[in-house]
């Protein structure tokens, strides 16, 4: 009897609980490209500031590569401004953020967005550098605002290549959970959600399971 209950519980976990887990991973990992990291002793300030970030789970500083890798708590949204401030207050310059995100895709006003599951519901515009090509998406002019980009609404309609749009359309229809790796940046207009420049995309769970891109 007990053996049967264990088997049933195991089956429940494997079939119901585990497929749901990735949807809760949301912002999984962030890699910060930090300039000015010259010595381990100075990097302690970065440790202090990163540990105060709401969402910080663990971190690793790679001084020789000028990178800081952070694992992120599943139930926390991503505040790019807070990360930028943390690096600045530590005495360094944040040059870029690359992230690994998990969520579902939606389409709003013709634009594709990655939406983190409830209760966070944080949204990210999706784009590809190759699709944007020469479209205006200017970076902030001064160093302080380099992580904030302009957001040209007119030029963002085709921010993704056709194959990607088709794949994301199917993902929307199938309610597919995707894992996306790419650079993330904020915008000068704080109302505009941050954007993720897709570098790789992986299907985490869906009825059709169409594999990686």
């Amino acid at each position: 009897m007990i053996k049967n209950i264990i088997i049933m519980l195991s089956a429940f976990v494997l079939t119901v609980v585990l497929p749901v887990l990735p949807a809760h991973a949301q912002v999984e990992q962030l890699t910060l490209r930090v300039d000015g990291l010259a010595c381990p002793f100075c990097a302690y300030g970065l440790e202090k500031k990163i540990k105060k970030l709401e969402g910080y789970k663990s971190f690793e500083v790679l001084i020789n590569e000028g990178k800081t890798i952070m694992d992120w708590h599943a139930d926390k949204t991503l505040d790019l401004g807070a990360i930028h401030d943390a690096v600045r207050k530590a005495g360094f310059t944040l040059r870029g953020i690359k992230g690994r995100f998990v969520g579902m895709v939606t389409k709003e006003n013709g634009k594709y967005m990655l939406v983190l599951p409830s209760p966070l519901k944080q949204r990210f515009y999706l784009y590809e550098e190759v699709a944007l090509a020469s479209k205006t998406h200017g970076k902030g002019e001064d160093e302080k605002d380099s992580w904030k980009h302009g957001h040209e609404k007119e030029g963002m309609d085709e921010a993704l290549t056709k194959p990607s749009r088709e794949l994301l359309d199917r993902a929307i229809d199938d309610k597919t959970v995707l894992r996306i790796v790419g650079s993330v940046h904020g915008h000068k207009d704080p109302v505009v959600p941050p954007s993720i420049g897709i570098e790789s995309l992986e299907i985490v769970s869906s009825a059709g399971n169409e594999g990686n891109r």
């Binding site: 300039d35 000015g36 990291l37 010259a38 010595c39 381990p40 002793f41 100075c42 990097a43 302690y44 300030g45 970065l46 440790e47 202090k48 500031k49 690793e60 500083v61 790679l62 001084i63 020789n64 000028g66 600045r88 207050k89 530590a90 005495g91 360094f92 310059t93």
Partner: protein, 272 residues
């Protein structure tokens, strides 16, 4: 009353040029500031032997990062022993408060260029009536600037400081100018949470103007000294040990003054 030997005065004021903060030179100041909201404490032992006079001081320093580019530093010197002509004194020296404002910084991958302005004030908390004196009896102001380059392998610094010394009674001690340079090398490019060693060669040039007594310049005061010597910085995470020795490679003192022979510093610094 000013029977204070001039060489002793020179040495005591010289101690006020000592350092704090991260990878800055051991015998000078660099452009480094501590991170915003960060605290640091440093305990620093100094010893100087200048022909017949020996001086040992323990400096206690507290620093705070008001902003990432603005640090405040309080230095309290405890003179362990000052021996002049067979007389020895010990006690509190002159307390110094210093600020450092980094007004330029350029970060690149694994390197920083930065320039800071320095302002400090030393108050006469040391007993200048003691024999020998524990303080100069003057309120001094320090102005300066420091440029520094730090990379994963090489370091270099250039610092200029001017110490303006007020009058004390009928005596007006000569101002002092410090021109410092240092070159550092990291033999192993260690990662965070590993021991990290930086070795440096530091050169410090000191120019001291003559003292005046009731408007008359004293001939046996002032002069120039160039110090040179190796130093090292050894750190792990938020703890740093540093130390070194310097020797006078050039000395041109006015009149009849004892010359210096060596100065040594050992320090431990902790950030939190």
């Amino acid at each position: 009353m000013y029977p204070l030997p001039l060489s002793a005065l020179l040495i005591l004021v010289g101690l006020l040029s000592t350092p704090v903060l991260a990878h800055e030179p051991v015998f000078s100041l660099g452009p480094e500031t501590i991170f915003e909201g960060g605290f640091g404490i440093e305990v620093e032992f100094e010893f100087e032997d200048a022909k017949g006079e020996q001086l040992a001081v323990m400096n206690y320093e507290i620093l705070y990062g008001l902003k990432d580019n603005l640090s405040l530093i309080l230095k309290v010197p405890q003179i362990l022993g000052r021996e002049v002509g067979g007389e020895t004194e010990r006690g509190l020296g002159d307390i110094e408060f210093r600020t450092k404002y980094r007004f330029f910084k350029r970060d690149t991958l694994g390197a920083q260029n930065k320039v800071s302005g320095i302002f400090g004030i030393k108050v006469p908390t040391g007993d200048d009536d003691a024999e020998p004196a524990l303080g100069t009896g003057t309120t001094d102001f320090l102005f300066g600037g420091s440029y520094g380059y730090e990379s994963r392998t090489w370091y270099h610094f250039a610092t200029a400081r001017y110490r303006f010394r007020t009058e004390s009674g009928s005596r007006d001690p000569g101002d002092r100018l410090f021109i410092d340079g240092a070159i550092g090398y990291r033999p192993w490019r260690r990662e965070y949470l590993e021991w990290d060693l930086v070795t440096l060669v530091e050169m410090n040039t000191e120019f001291e103007f003559k003292d005046e007594l009731r408007g008359v310049r004293l001939p046996d005061t002032g002069g120039n000294i160039i110090w040179l010597g190796p130093t090292a910085l050894l750190s792990y995470r938020n703890i740093m040990f540093k130390g070194g020795a310097q020797f006078p490679v050039y000395e041109n003192l006015n009149g009849n003054q004892d010359s210096s022979s060596v100065r040594v510093v050992f320090a431990a610094e902790y950030h939190f």
